[in-house]
Symmetry: C2
DNA sequence: GTAAAGTGAATTAACGTTCGTTAATTATGG
DNA sequence: CCATAATTAACGAACGTTAATTCACTTTAC
């Protein structure tokens, strides 16, 4: 018995695949896994995607869609630079907090992606956010290495989420849960003296 | 014709497997891949390791061996705290710079490891370094959240290496190569005002 | 208005390949 | 001579994918 609403099967496949690929990686997920999770038979996937590689690429693109736009919302030029920095850092923690699949997919892409997928990632995700962010940092501290600085700030924000799986297995991390606001505030507490200095 | 020096076949397997697992992940590497890279037949692997899982665990353990000890060398209590911080940050960048397989394996473990492997990682790698590092940070700034701070500093150091694959595909990262010393100095430049303040 | 034809998405069955692994055997070094 | 480590052959399972078919719904024809 075919689905009564076949028109959104494609979206259900993509949403399911995003979660599975984020959890287990490209090689760790089979077409049968995806089909079973969606509730259809494996060959039905090929009515919507040419092959596994195409399905994976579309899943990644979907997961990354709007992310850069949402991050850029904080970089509105009509507020003070320090306020922009504050909003941007809080925006980053909020995005990472709300959708962990995005971060896991990103980490996997940085480890596994071929040149073509890296180009997509760099051109349409990274460039769009990093360029205006670097401009903001340059305005706050002209003599700084804005490139390294932008990377380091992203690393500060991201690291806590990256280490979350290991927190229950370390003595320091047993009660390590911090809210997105706490993390953003801790990052800004480190950054503020640096940007306020000469 | 068997190898004339079978006693070090095991080590050759481990060294080869570390590189392959770091590059392609657990599911992305087959026993045939490893055997071919070593130059032996696939069943010969089972003379040295019970199965793929055991070989993987031993490869990870080997890759992580001595890492914590090497990092702890910088935390000698007979030098000023700020000097310890300086040496530790430079030590971290040096370790990441010299052996990229370590970082890639670590990233993959944080994404893929089960509870047992996470326990090994947390107990024998993280705890050993993070506890003394947190004590150092607490001595430098008692009112700080030393746990978050230790994570953020590690994130600052690590991020540049994590993003290296994407640098050729971003406009900001085209000529992005920085030496280990440059990265450590940039991190310390951000941290110093924070630890010098009230 | 209803039957025929067509379309798209689902199914089951099955293909060739690769996977991790075992069995049986052979050769080597102490 | 015996333990160790290598080999070739092969097993069953899972892999990505294709083929053939069925089913439901839409469009067309009379």
């Amino acid at each position: 018995m075919p689905s009564p609403h076949p028109q959104n099967t494609r979206e259900r496949i993509l949403l399911t695949a995003i979660g599975l690929f984020a959890d287990c990686g490209y090689a760790g997920v089979s077409m049968r896994d995806i089909a079973t999770a969606v509730g259809i038979s494996p060959p039905a996937l090929y009515n919507h995607f040419a092959n596994k590689e195409a399905l994976y690429r579309e899943a990644v693109s979907t997961a990354f869609a709007d992310k850069s736009a949402r991050l850029l919302q904080a970089l509105r030029n009509d507020v003070p630079a320090l306020t922009q920095l504050h909003d941007f850092v809080h925006g980053m923690t909020r995005e990472l907090d709300e959708d962990d699949r995005f971060r896991r997919l990103l980490q996997r892409e940085l480890l596994d992606a071929d040149a073509q997928r890296l180009t997509f990632l760099g051109r349409f995700i990274f460039d769009e956010v990093q360029q205006p962010f670097m401009a903001l940092l340059k305005s706050l501290r002209p003599q700084a290495d804005a490139f390294l600085l932008s990377e380091m700030i992203f690393g500060m924000v991201k690291q806590h989420y990256e280490l979350q799986p290991i927190h229950p297995h370390t003595t320091a991390g047993i009660d390590a849960h911090r809210s997105a606001v706490q993390i953003a505030d801790a990052v800004l507490a480190v950054l503020r003296p640096y940007f306020s200095g000469d």
